[in-house]
Amino acid sequence: MDLLEVQKLCKTYGSGETAVNALRDVSFAVPKGEYVAIVGESGSGKSTLLNLIGALDTPTAGKVLIDGKDIFSMDDRQLTVFRRRNIGFIFQAFNLVPELTVEQNIVFPLLLDYQKPDKKYLEELLTVLNLRERRDHLPSQLSGGQQQRVAIGRALITRPALILADEPTGNLDSQNSSDVIRLLKEASKKYEQTILLITHNRSIAQTADRLLQVTDGSLTDLGRCRA
């Protein structure tokens, strides 16, 4: 069964002569556990697509179904809860809470859900992400790669079905980039998570199960990139 189904998604910014069609009639589906890379020029509409799938923004037309649920039919409160339980976000700029330690940042979505973190899983994540030694550090005391690993931890802690990553390696060197991608892939395999990842990096795109290209708001499925 498809975990994610995008149907005829449109997004237009502005109106009249200044209207910009960021997305035009985009449709595709992603089965559970698949790792999909989205590529495209700057300004082609990749981030808009990702933001719409994550319900951070509202579409002009079209539907997004996650696990069969139409996310835009939910009200803001339901959507917030849905997002924090089912979607993990990873941003290029990390977006960690500066006042919280590594550990607190990772369990932050659970705390927002008033849940107790699963200690064993947290330890496992910290180990996998190689952050055990740094658990009490603040984001400002970490390198870029470490911060992005914290962000990955935060995205994984709720065991979401879908992980959306918007150029997670954009601010990282090649070593850190490959570490981050490796971690994401391992997680996706281990926990059967679906990953949508935006990247400009060809070699990272090549590691995905499937490649989608966005050009001027239109999507082309480049198909599976490896056997």
């Binding site: 981030s47 933001n51 994550g54 951070l56 923004d57 803001d76 409160r77 917030t80 809860v81 997002r83 924090r84 339980r85 993990g88 976000f89 941003f91 700029a93 977006n95 960690l96 809470v97 500066p98 006042e99 919280l100 330690t101 607190q104 932050f108 979505p109 705390l111 927002l112 859900d113 008033y114 009490d136 603040l138 984001p139 400002s140 935060r154 995205a155 709720t158």
Partner: protein, 773 residues
């Protein structure tokens, strides 16, 4: 773009919303100062006019000089006018009468009655010895009219005059006497016939800009004047700006104090927003430095940017201030009246506007100092690394709180300086509020015409005897126009008490006055008061410090043993240092055998006419009828002026505080917008976000409340004890009402502070905030 400074209007256009509150703060500061100083200016103008009318338009009065001194004085270059007057029997102690009423005599030159004291209300100054000006109340007393005639009875004979005019100095009605103003020749005849001494007084008015102090000492040495020969008209001298200790200095002092206060509050507010403005744009300043801007250029940019806000804020604040002062003047003139009926309505005060503009520019320049330095200190590397976000140095402790609350608390405590400023701002408001509420309580005690027991008219025996009979009292209270009447009998008695004895005043109160004693708060001792009303031998003493007749004391009067059942803070009788005891009418007549009253107070219906008052006056016959209505109006005007002043002051402080907290929270939210966006994207709900902001706001509010009450309650106690307990004996108690008002204010300010960001948050598009640079 002509220079890098052209960036300012461009960036101002883009950042209009962020700058809006800062501009509002500057405008508010300018508005407050312009308003305050304009009001002070109008107040001084009104006081000058009132003082000229009430105290006379002269600076010094000289006695015991020969007649020709007037000419010599008038010849001085610094003297604008000299007038002369003499008086006879103005203390109404001798047997001068007009139409059966006691009469006082004034003999003066024309300028004294028309210029020095502008008392002439109708007609003209007596032309020749056969004419006289009478006090206004003569119309009511014997139907005097212009052109009519009257006879002045003096101990040595009668003098007849034609009435050329009326004067209104306000004193005649109060003393129930008639004032007769004559020219100097006519006065001389009466004086000589009665063998009174001649004692002319010379009233000197100096020219504007005269160094009054120097002129006075010159005149003193020229005429060899001794202490008592020269009287200064302090009020007018003060209004001319030459007094060292006066109401006017107080008024300017208060305005100056407010100026400093508003300046401080303004600097705090604007510095706060500038600081956060700079902090949010670290990367931008770093970029400018990268592109080659020098430190001094960055400082200039920040300062100019701040001054740019003044362009719209200062004129609008000043205009609002002037309009505000017009509003207050109109309210005082038509709403309060009395002494305010002379306040200028559409006066524009140049000093007020100048002070407002000054405060606007000063606040901005002072406030821009440290942010400008901070902006200049930004390293160019921040632009390269993009690492412009505020860095936390200590992790947040979650403790027992939920994560959103803990983060809110952490945000409040993150900047010690900010927390201190916010706490201080709240605490200052609370401290001032409590201090002023104590002052208001004092005004309530001190200005008694506002009491329900304040009479409009009083019928007095005049000699302190209880000559107002019960029958007359009944007759008067039944007359039309009288709402209610209540009398007091007074007797000086010898008494003995433990450890001493002496004379005291025993004053009777009827049941109505005893019930007011409780309602008006003369005493809080209800049980004691009830005993005074019910028990035969219980009296109430009027509190005076160190008096032996406190609650519980026992004393003997004429063989009867009495007990002081309670003491009260206020009584409608002043013993002038002799102890005063209050008792029921029954006890009074048992002890003294008297049944009349020394004073019968009358309260009139709202629509009582002057004819009805004249009928009352006629019915009172030989007794004095003191008309207190004008005085009551004045006192009530004073009370309202004080109240309006105190409350508008409080309102201003409150406005500044609310603005400050709203601004701070809004800035704090703006600075963290991107962070909030990220939190929203990982699952924080709008409600949780609100809780976080509320927690931050409440931290400031509660800290402020605690510090404010800790400082304000002792201040309230101190003021209360030194103004009220010391004079009226009322013990201090926790001002629960005021505390409730404060709590409500703090809650409202917090709600206002959370409201705007809440609205913004609801419309927040997550993607915009997380992706903005």
């Amino acid at each position: 773009m002509k220079s890098y400074l052209s960036l300012i209007p461009i960036s101002a256009k883009v950042r209009r919303r962020q700058n809006r509150i800062t501009v509002l703060c500057i405008a508010l500061a300018v508005f407050l100062v312009t308003g305050i100083f304009s009001m002070a200016d109008m107040g001084v103008r009104m006081e000058t006019a009132n003082a000229r009318r009430q105290h006379g338009n002269y600076h010094i009065a000289l006695r015991g000089l020969p007649e020709e001194a007037a000419e010599k004085l008038a010849a001085r270059r610094d003297v604008a006018a000299v007038s002369v007057s003499e008086s006879l029997n103005t203390d109404i102690s001798l047997d001068y009468t007009v139409a059966g009423k006691k009469a006082g005599l004034i003999g003066s030159d024309e300028s004294w009655l028309t210029d020095t004291f502008a008392y002439l209300s109708e007609g003209r100054f007596p032309a020749g010895s056969g004419e006289a000006v009478l006090s206004e109340n003569a119309k009511a007393v014997f139907g005097a009219e212009l052109g009519g005639s009257f006879t002045l009875h003096t101990p040595t004979g009668d003098f007849s005059f034609r009435i050329s005019g009326f004067e209104d100095d306000g004193s005649a009605a109060r003393y129930d006497a008639i004032l007769v103003c004559l020219d100097r020749a006519a006065f001389e005849q009466v004086r000589a016939a009665n063998g009174a001494e001649s004692a002319p007084e010379f009233f000197v008015r100096f020219r504007p800009l005269t160094q009054i102090r120097r002129a006075i000492s010159e005149i003193k040495s020229q005429y060899g004047l001794e202490e008592g020969q020269l009287a200064e008209n302090l009020v007018l001298i003060a209004l001319s700006g030459f007094s060292e200790n006066s109401v006017v200095l107080g008024m300017y002092g208060a305005a100056a104090f407010l100026f400093v206060l508003v300046l401080t509050a303004g600097v705090i507010m604007i510095a706060g927003s500038l600081n956060s403005n700079v902090a949010q744009r670290t990367a931008f300043f770093g970029m400018l430095r990268c592109l080659g801007a020098s430190k001094s250029q960055i400082m200039r940019l920040v300062r100019r940017e701040a001054l740019y806000w003044c362009r719209s804020a200062v004129p609008s604040g000043a205009a609002l201030g002037v309009a505000g002062s017009w509003g207050v003047c109109a309210a005082l003139r038509y709403g309060v009246g009395g002494m305010f009926s002379g306040i200028p309505l559409f006066g524009v005060s140049l000093p007020g506007i100048l002070c407002g503009v000054l405060v606007g520019l000063l606040t901005v320049l002072l406030a821009a100092r440290s942010p400008a330095r901070r902006a200049a200190a930004v390293s160019p590397v921040t632009a390269v690394t993009g690492n412009a976000e505020s860095k936390a140095t200590r992790p947040a402790r979650l403790g027992p709180w939920r994560v959103e609350t803990a983060l809110g608390l952490r945000h409040a405590a993150a900047s010690k300086k900010n927390l201190l400023l916010m706490t201080g701002s709240f605490a200052l408001s609370i401290l001032l509020f409590l201090s002023f509420s104590a002052v208001l309580a004092w005004i309530h005690y001190a200005l008694n015409p506002l009491r329900p027991s304040s009479p409009d008219l009083s019928v007095l025996s005049g000699d302190g005897s209880n000559a107002v009979s019960g029958e007359l009292a009944a007759e008067l209270s039944a007359m039309p126009g009288v709402k209610r009447s209540f009398g007091r009998a007074v007797q000086r008695l010898e008494a003995e008490w433990e450890g001493g004895g002496g004379s005291l005043f025993l004053v009777s109160l009827d049941d109505r006055q005893l019930s007011w004693a409780e309602k008006e708060g003369w005493t809080v001792d209800r049980r004691g008061l009830e005993r005074v009303r019910r028990e035969e031998n219980c009296v109430m003493s009027v509190y005076s410090e160190g008096s032996p007749l406190q609650k519980g004391a026992r004393l003997q009067i004429g063989g009867e043993s009495l007990e002081v059942a309670c003491s009260c803070a206020y009584a409608p009788f002043d013993g002038g240092g002799t102890p005063v005891l209050l008792c029921t009418e029954a006890l009074f007549s048992r002890l003294t055998g008297e049944s009349g009253y020394a004073v019968l107070d009358l309260q009139l219906e709202k629509d009582a006419t002057e004819e009805q008052v004249a009928a009352l006056r006629a019915a009172a016959g030989e007794l004095l009828l003191s008309d207190r209505r004008a005085g009551n109006r004045e006192t009530s005007a004073t009370y309202w002026a004080f109240t309006i002043l105190v409350y508008s002051f409080l309102a201003m402080i409150a406005a500044i505080t609310v603005c400050n907290i709203v601004n701070s929270i809004s800035l704090s939210v703006s600075a963290r917008m991107r962070q909030y966006g990220a939190m929203r994207s990982v699952g924080m709900s709008g409600r949780q976000l609100m809780k976080m902001i509320t927690a931050e706001t409440l931290t400031y509010a509660l800290c402020g409340l605690t510090v404010g009450l800790a400082a304000g309650l002792p201040a309230h106690k101190m003021i209360y004890e030194s103004f009220i307990t010391a004079y009226f004996g009322e013990a201090w108690k926790v001002p629960a009402g005021a505390a409730l008002v404060i709590a409500a204010f703090v809650a409202a300010a917090s709600a206002a502070a959370v409201y705007a960001p809440a609205k913004r948050m609801r419309s927040m598009v997550i993607t915009e905030t997380i992706n903005e640079l």
